[in-house]
Structure formats: structure tokens, C-alpha cells
């Protein structure tokens, strides 16, 4: 299969807008579960408003949240796909820019030093384009994630040491959830990276934060920590929007990588309740949206 760059550009545009408007089903189901478990009256009322907002966005074809985020594109290329890699990255960038101008969307991206906004949602290094490869025959998957800043500001890395153990890793996560309180727009998905190098650890946390609800860490030890922390964060009483209640998080997600004998890194990256993402899969048969 030859990857058609015109198609990639269109998809990069469509997926950005689609992600901003339609919340994935797993997150909608997550809200239903949280509503059943919530005992705090204010917490319940806030969750109800969030669910109402999802319906209003669908009915009025509007964005769920005003924060158009930092655009992230995750591309996974399968076997027997011919593609022009540099051209693909340019096509994604053009699609992202076109979504911003043609919809129009608020460009939330500025130069970090001059703070100049090009009104394109693009800038040096942005959109983020992550490319990976997998086993699927003649398949290309493009996932678009508009990462909101309220929760992205809830990002932390600590290079713990082996003597600190797993106990310190878990303590770090709990302490960061407390520190963030309502600022990260709970209920959240708490993404936790354990191991790797500093940059890989942070990336694992992002992968964890943006993983669909209902998925589990591939690593058995990671999955155990995921289970423990998911229960623990909802005992803190922070609740929806940090105004009290049980539903601090939908779930804590953990991703794991091997690390150095002298290292014990942990990272936290938080995803707000507007856990937006959109996926398209290109095969010789056409394009399917997930």
C-alpha cells in the first residue's frame, strides 16, 4: 500500500476537529461509572454538568472544551506500507494548520520565549508527531490528541534512586495528585511512567494518560500498581473539579520501561476529564474512524 499524502493531510485536519468535538465512548462510559459511585452532592452535580456538556457539544456540533490544546499526532505504520516520511510529517502539519484556519479553532500555541502566537496551532516542534511501527499488514493508524494545558501543567518527573524503592514511586504519585487538586480538571486519568531514561519516563506517562479506559498495563507489576493507585487516589476526597467527592480520577494508568541499575525514575502526566482523542485507520479498503 502506498500512503497517499493528500489523504494524510485531510485526515490530520479532520481528526483534530473530530477529537475536539466527540468524546470517545470509553470516557463516556467512565462518566457513567463515576456517577454511580459518587456520594458527594456537589461532586454528583458537577459530573452531571460534564455529561450534559458532552450532549450539548454533540447537539450543537461544538467543541467540548475551549482549550484546543497542543496538537499531538501518533502515527503507527504497519508492514508493507510505502511512504515518504518527511512528506508525511509536512502533510500532518498542513492539516493541523488548515483545521485551525478553516474551522476556525483557537490557536493555543505560542513561541516559548517571545510568546508570539502564529494563529496556526503550529510552531517549532509543534504539532508533535510520533512515528512508530507495528505488525499490521498494509495498515496506517493516525491518532490525534489535543492535549489540554490545565492537565499538562500537572506534569512531574523525579529521578528517585533504587534505595527509595517502589514505595517512593507510589508516594510520589499520591503527592502529585494532592498537589494538583482541582487545577487539572478532575476527574482525571493519572498517567504514570516508571523506569526508562528521564525523557522516556515522561513519554511513558503521556502514553499512560492518553490510553483508553479499560486497557491495562502490559507489564504485570505495572498492572498491580495501576490497580492499587486507582483505588487510592479516589480515597483522597478531592473529587470532581477539586470541590470534594470520590471521583478524583477515572483511573491511574501505568506504563513501564526497563531502567539503569542506579536509577528509579517516576513521571506523572495528567489527562483532564475532557479526555479527547480521535483515531483513523487507513487500509487498502479505505479509511475507518474508531
Amino acid at each position: 500500500m502506498q500512503l497517499d499524502l493528500k489523504e494524510v493531510e485531510e485526515l490530520a485536519k479532520t481528526l483534530y476537529v473530530r477529537a475536539l468535538k466527540l468524546l470517545p465512548n470509553d470516557i463516556k462510559q467512565g462518566f457513567e461509572r463515576l456517577l454511580m459511585e459518587e456520594t458527594d452532592a456537589t461532586g454528583k452535580a458537577i459530573l452531571d454538568t460534564m455529561v450534559e456538556n458532552i450532549a450539548v457539544a454533540e447537539r450543537t456540533k461544538n467543541l467540548l472544551c475551549q482549550d484546543t490544546g497542543i496538537p499531538i499526532y501518533n502515527v503507527v505504520i504497519g508492514r508493507n506500507v510505502e511512504f515518504d516520511g518527511a512528506g508525511m510529517k509536512e502533510a500532518i502539519r498542513r492539516g493541523c494548520e488548515r483545521a485551525t484556519k478553516e474551522h476556525p479553532l483557537r490557536s493555543s500555541v505560542v513561541h516559548p520565549i517571545t510568546r508570539k502566537n502564529e494563529q496556526t496551532s503550529c510552531g517549532p516542534g509543534v504539532p508533535l508527531i510520533n512515528v512508530d511501527f507495528d505488525e499490521r499488514e498494509e495498515t496506517v493508524e493516525i491518532e490525534m490528541i489535543p492535549k489540554g494545558s490545565g492537565s499538562e501543567n500537572g506534569s512531574f518527573l523525579q529521578m528517585l534512586i533504587p534505595a527509595d524503592g517502589v514505595a517512593a514511586v507510589k508516594r510520589f504519585v499520591i503527592d502529585k495528585v494532592i498537589e494538583c487538586g482541582g487545577r487539572v480538571c478532575p476527574p482525571t486519568i493519572v498517567g504514570v511512567g516508571i523506569g526508562g531514561t528521564s525523557d522516556l519516563c515522561m513519554h511513558l506517562a503521556k502514553v499512560a494518560a492518553t490510553r483508553p479506559l479499560g486497557t491495562t498495563c502490559d507489564d504485570m507489576e505495572g498492572a498491580k500498581i495501576e490497580e492499587q493507585l486507582s483505588e487510592a487516589v479516589n480515597q483522597l476526597g478531592i473529587g470532581p473539579q477539586g470541590l470534594g467527592g470520590r471521583a478524583t480520577s477515572f483511573r491511574v494508568h501505568v506504563e513501564v520501561a526497563a531502567t539503569h541499575i542506579t536509577m528509579n525514575p517516576v513521571a506523572v502526566n495528567i489527562q483532564c476529564h475532557s479526555a479527547r482523542r480521535a483515531v483513523a485507520i487507513i487500509t487498502p479498503g479505505g479509511i475507518a474512524f474508531e
Partner: protein
């Protein structure tokens, strides 16, 4: 727990009547303000021709569409999606906003800190929590963008919105020293030791 309907702008005693746990619906006018707006106004001394006295400001930067100015939306923009950003980043601007420009109410998400609480007590003001991320709903409360200043900071311009039934919002910080945010944070800190013990991280 009282529900207040406030026609903006309001007087000091109306702001002081608000208590944590009350709910509020705002009518008529609301200003949108954000990081870059506040940095320009207070760190760079940039004046605005808009009068904020007695008004409410919401921490926001909206999605808008440029149009030819017309009687409705005379700013030359129509609202597409307007929501609320995290307030805490703008903590150090509450005092000057109230003291210099006479702002009475701050609408945001996530709450603010002690400096803001002190300013509310001194000048008479309150923080009204809107549900963050519920922007599609919030947009239905904002029929029109009346005016805009400092638009070179777009989208972090100073916005003047015409509002209709903006709420209900929850009063979470008041002029009597009460903060629901501080209460919840203290509660979480109090539970920390037991939670850590339950996962073997005491």
C-alpha cells in the same frame, strides 16, 4: 445556601453578601481575561479603554470567528466556543484587578490562593467556580461578543461578552475568609497518611 441573580456590574455589598455554598447566575455583562492580558495590564502598564468597575471577569481565551462588525457582535467577532481556564496561574493579579480596576467577581476553575482570599476580604469580592471543560454548555450562556481590546494578544485579548443566564456558578471563595478549595485541600492532606499506608508507602 442562597441563589443570587446578579445584573452586572454590582456594588460592594452585593459581593459581600455572597457566601461559600451559594449559587449565582450572572446577567448582562462579563469580561474575559487571561495570562497575557493580565501581564500586559499590570506588568507592562498597558491601559485599557474598557471599564471593569464592579464587574466579573472570567479566566478564558475563546474560540471565535472573525466577521464584519454588526449591531450584534459589534466587536467583529462571533463566539464559537468559550470556556474557562485554570485560575491559579493568575493568582498575583487578583489584588491589582480589584484595587486598581474595581473588579468584584472572578469566575474560573480550580480555585485560587490566600492572596486572592485576602483581596476578597479587603475589597469585597468572591470567586465563582464554573465547571471546567464544560465549554459547549458555557457558550450557550454567551450570545454575543460586544467589544474587544488589546486584540494583538489574540486570543488572550480583553473580551467584553454579553451574557444571558450565565450559571449556575458555585461560590467557592468569599469575602469572609472561607474557601472550599482550601477546605478540600486540607482534607486531602489529612487523608494522605492513611492512603499511603493502604498502598504500603507510609
Amino acid at each position: 445556601m442562597t441563589h443570587h441573580i446578579l445584573d452586572m456590574p454590582i456594588a460592594e455589598e452585593q459581593a459581600r453578601a455572597l457566601r461559600v455554598g451559594d449559587t449565582v447566575t450572572l446577567e448582562k455583562t462579563l469580561f474575559g481575561i487571561r495570562d497575557a492580558t493580565l501581564i500586559a495590564m499590570f506588568d507592562r502598564g498597558r491601559p485599557t479603554r474598557l471599564n471593569l468597575k464592579g464587574h466579573a471577569v472570567v479566566h478564558t481565551a475563546p474560540n471565535v470567528r472573525k466577521i464584519d462588525p454588526r449591531p450584534a457582535n459589534s466587536s467583529g467577532y462571533e463566539p464559537l466556543c468559550i470556556g474557562t481556564t485554570t485560575s491559579m496561574r493568575m493568582e498575583r493579579f487578583t489584588r491589582p484587578l480589584m484595587q486598581r480596576d474595581g473588579v468584584r467577581l472572578i469566575i474560573g476553575k480550580g480555585g485560587m490562593g490566600q492572596a486572592t482570599l485576602d483581596a476578597f476580604k479587603e475589597f469585597g469580592g468572591a470567586y465563582l467556580a464554573v465547571v471546567g471543560g464544560a465549554a459547549a454548555l458555557e457558550t450557550t450562556w454567551i450570545p454575543e461578543i460586544e467589544d474587544v481590546d488589546m486584540d494583538d494578544l489574540h486570543p488572550e485579548s480583553l473580551w467584553k461578552f454579553r451574557i444571558q443566564g450565565f450559571g449556575p456558578l458555585l461560590v467557592t471563595m468569599d469575602s469572609h475568609g472561607d474557601s472550599l478549595h482550601a477546605k478540600v485541600n486540607a482534607e486531602a492532606e489529612a487523608r494522605r497518611a492513611a492512603v499511603l499506608a493502604s498502598i504500603g508507602s507510609a
